[in-house]
């Protein structure tokens, strides 16, 4: 069973590699941080283990970074993590972007056949019904045999693309009207790792040395008011920042308490990036970021 492999590998790595902790799930499907061999006995994987744990990995590694008093880089203890196929894509992107380094992480990969909402019985999440990334893209060990993957299905996106502009506007307006901007989508996003976000007026990085002028002149791209125009800016302005980076893990849609179909945005982004730039985020180790690959031959039809 995969649980035994997860535990055995986690224990071995905790000992041999001196891991700070292993991030996984407990049997009830909630995220769990195992620091001791005893904790590791509680690690488990089942179909309710839905959270993408990669944001926690970034948190655990970044919190160790910094300089010691005498100016030396602090030693970062590696961190172990259990990832499903989609999670591993996000992790690979962070490795490719040099946010995390490969030697800082120990990855237990789980080939996954889909996860479900622990509060809503056994039905699979929409993103899991057809999935093209069931097998981990980067890992140190696998907890079970690889599984059959589906081909990516963009039929839903194509249907929206075909809508007349007015109908499409109404479709999206309807969705943005229901957003309450709790920021769960952004804060659970594994590739949204900035300390400060221009779209988040509740999270401004003010430091003791931030001057009054800097505070006063801080641009406010999005106001605190929750209404269609502000919500629209929040959601749409996130997209250029995710272009060629979003791996469509679907965490934003999963955590949304208003159940907004946010993956329609990210899947469209992914589709466009594929069609226009022939690029797929985190498709291989060491891949250059899309933004670093611009060239004169790029299609710029969308500008004019």
């Amino acid at each position: 069973m995969s649980d035994e492999i997860i535990r055995a590998e986690a224990k071995k790595a905790l000992r041999d590699r001196g891991l700070k902790c292993v991030i996984g799930w407990s049997a009830d499907g909630t995220p769990f941080f195992a620091e001791t061999e005893e904790d590791i006995e509680k690690l488990s994987f089942n179909k309710f283990c839905a959270n993408n744990l990669v944001p926690y990995l970034t948190q655990e590694i970044r919190s160790q970074r910094g300089k010691t008093r005498d100016g030396k880089e602090k030693i970062v203890k590696p961190v172990g993590i259990v990832v499903k196929g989609c999670d591993s894509k996000a992790l690979l992107l962070l490795l490719n972007e040099n946010i995390l380094s490969r030697k800082e992480v120990f990855i237990i990969g789980i080939p996954c056949t889909g996860v479900a909402d622990r509060h809503a019985g056994g039905a699979l999440y929409r993103k899991c019904i057809k999935c093209a990334m069931r097998n981990p893209a980067v890992y140190d060990v696998l907890a079970s045999e690889k599984v059959q993957e589906d081909t990516k299905d963009y039929s839903e996106i194509e249907a929206i693309e075909k809508m007349p502009a007015e109908e499409r506007w109404k479709f999206w307006k309807d969705i943005f009207a229901d957003c309450i901007r709790c920021h769960a989508c952004k804060r659970s996003c594994p590739v949204c790792y900035c300390d400060e976000c221009l779209l988040d007026p509740t999270d401004i990085a003010i430091k003791p040395d931030t001057t009054a002028e800097e505070k006063a002149h801080r641009p406010r791209w999005v106001e605190r008011s929750v209404n269609i125009p502000e919500n629209l800016v929040y959601h749409l302005a996130r997209l250029p920042h995710l272009t060629g980076r979003c791996v469509d893990c679907g965490e934003c849609e999963r955590v949304c308490p208003q159940r907004l179909p946010l993956r329609l945005l990210t899947a469209k982004l992914e589709k466009d990036v594929k069609e226009i730039f022939n690029y797929e985020a985190a498709s291989e180790e060491g891949q250059k970021p899309l933004i670093a690959m611009s060239c004169m031959e790029d299609d710029n039809g969308f500008i004019m």
Partner: protein, 341 residues
Amino acid sequence: MNKYILKKEKVTDALNTLGNASVVYIPVKNKRGLVEYRELGKNASAADVRLDCKPDVPPKGILFPQTEVLFTFKKMGGKITVTPARPDDREKVIFGARPCDAIAITLMDRVFCGGKFTDSYYKARREKVTIFTIACDGPADSKCFCPSTGGSPAATDGSDVMMYDVDDSYYAEGITDKGRKILEALKGHLGKPTPEQEKRKDEIIKKAESAEGFTRKITEESIGRLDSSFDSKYWDDIARRCLSCGACTYYCPTCHCFDINDEPGSKRVRTWDSCQFSNFTMHTSAHNPRTGKGQKLRNRYYHKFKYSKENIGRYLCVGCGRCIALCPAGLDITKAISEVK
């Protein structure tokens, strides 16, 4: 006589009658499957009303909107004119609330109108609200824990009219003068309860008071332990998986914190705020007394179960369980308070 029977098939008619005199908010299942309050005639019709479940979204926003313009201002020739927003003083009915949400409104009353200062915007709305509550006879779902917070599935606090689901009808009873009056006005749709229906109602109350069937609990003893667990490492441990989103606070029927900002269009706007956001306690000096996720989470739990008890004499949690149902990281307030050492 103040006890009536509203046949389930007549609910639609009764709602439409109420709609003639007031704005009526009813729980409706939206197209994404969430049951939320909507305005009758505006974006909901009476036939869509869902009275068989605890709404996923509390009615908080009806009294305390997420975004509210307080006033607009204009600067001309060195003079500033301020135009206050018109308070929303339309008669309103909230139909189909659950007891936990009605209690939550009494707690909001204490915050906004109970002390030295009165929030005129809240008060203008509140005075015009009549609440029809449907009693539960036990936990509405597995997240419920109202008996642990001093409530009950059939508690009447905050309700103007209490309704009990007696098979093919609702047994309705006026609790306040306002409630009795509004039932008078609805008389055309109402009948008299039979002895069997009286009996059914008593059974519901008895079952509710027994507090049977609740799997989630917080004991007085564990709340007492909060006194000595402020510095516990436990808070940082569980907060490690908190994502610092605002879902728990935005869906909480009693969370009432807000922020005020000036926005383009020369408006001063009040919006909900959340103690889980890092700017919540940020001082102008850039000092932030609560930076860690553990501190923020602990503050929310202590506010609900300790500070409020000391300040207003009641827990500021009504046990609706929405923060448990909606937390993306699976945090559970009942588990946290029971486990902390």
